[in-house]
């Protein structure tokens, strides 16, 4: 993936070069799909959201003021669309921890390497509070810095750090409960 901040691409687009927008899509589409899938957990919906992110970006790019990087701006659009998706489909967000069958879970964590165990961990991740979950995803999968995450989530870096740590401790607590 290329660097998200690309003033040259943006300048070309503002001058009417439509090819610049295609380049923008090529640069960021995989990262956007990855983020959408990690949040939504559904491949088909992630594809739809990826497409919608760029449609929304096309509409708003002329008003984009370059206060943040293009990449973080696209991530913010993605997260908002995912939130809208969960609002429209509340049942998709609900994760019944009983489905995790924790009483039968056998740790240590190394056993989670099995696909089934990985799915269980994924459900644990999905069950986290929204801010903790999205912050963890941005840090672990998108490998963004605290500063970039703070920009996307519109919060302080300290809050980002707290969300990550609370999220990790919560996951570990869920795993321990299965001991």
């Amino acid at each position: 993936m290329a660097s998200g901040f690309d003033p040259e691409l943006l300048e070309r687009f503002k001058r009417g070069d439509k090819e610049a927008f295609n380049e923008l899509i090529f640069r960021h589409q995989r990262a956007i799909y990855s983020l959408a899938y990690r949040i939504i957990g559904d491949e088909k919906e992630a594809r739809e959201i990826t497409q919608q992110v760029f449609v929304n970006a096309y509409r708003g790019l002329l008003r984009f003021k370059e206060k943040s990087e293009v990449k973080t701006w696209l991530y913010r659009i993605t997260i908002n669309l995912c939130k809208n998706y969960f609002r429209s489909n509340p049942c998709k967000r609900e994760v019944d921890l009983e489905d995790l069958n924790l009483s039968q879970t056998e740790t240590p964590l190394s056993q989670l390497l099995k696909e089934e165990e990985k799915m269980r961990l994924k459900m644990m991740l999905d069950s986290l509070p929204e801010k903790q979950r999205i912050t963890l995803i941005l840090r672990i999968y998108q490998e963004l810095s605290y500063k970039e995450i703070a920009s996307i989530m519109k919060s302080a870096e300290g809050t980002v750090k707290a969300n990550i740590f609370h999220g990790l401790k919560r996951l570990r607590s869920m795993l321990r409960n299965g001991d």
Partner: protein
Amino acid sequence: MKCKKARSLILELVMETIKEEDEKKLKFHLKNCPQCTKEWTTFRELIATLKSLPLPDPGAEFFKILPLRVKEEISNISLDKGWRTWIKGVFTNLRFLQPGEVVSVLVSLAVVAVLTGLLIFYPSYFLQERNLFFKTTTEDTLLQSSDSLTTLLEGVEESAVIEELSPQELQQLYNSLITSIKSESTKEELFEEKTEESFAFDYGHDLNDLSPDELKLLSQRLAKRYPVIPEKGV
């Protein structure tokens, strides 16, 4: 380093955000503390496992055609939908107006409504104003012609008072007047035609065809309209 401090730094370590100095101290602590080492191992495996969660590949074809699909969707955005969205947005934003802004908006809407109503129900008012404008313009042009006429009349030596002009001088004056009007008022065809028609209708183009009474009437009218006449002999 105490365990409490170590536990907080372990999370920094697994998230790869720890400072170099803290990392050295923590690793030294971990060598001598089995409990903290277990904690570190747990979080490290947790992160590793989270990172290993599969990401379904939508296929190269999806990424290849995505720009085309986006382009297609953008082109499908109809103008009608855009306007509806825009109007909806306006009404949505109205809810967030401050009291002062509400008054400004209402006053502006009232002014626009009154002007629109006048235009629709009293179009003659605007047309009347338009005629008044033309009338004023015509009179201005006439006064300009008057100035030019004064210059022209400087060549007429016989009389300073128009009633005292001979028929020939009156004819010369009339011809000068018509020439002057034509040259000075080409942009005001209305004035030109009206004036010339008026003279032609009332007195004819040739003053020789006019009766003495008609000549007298013409001279009176000219005197009334063009009161500034150079004195005789000037």
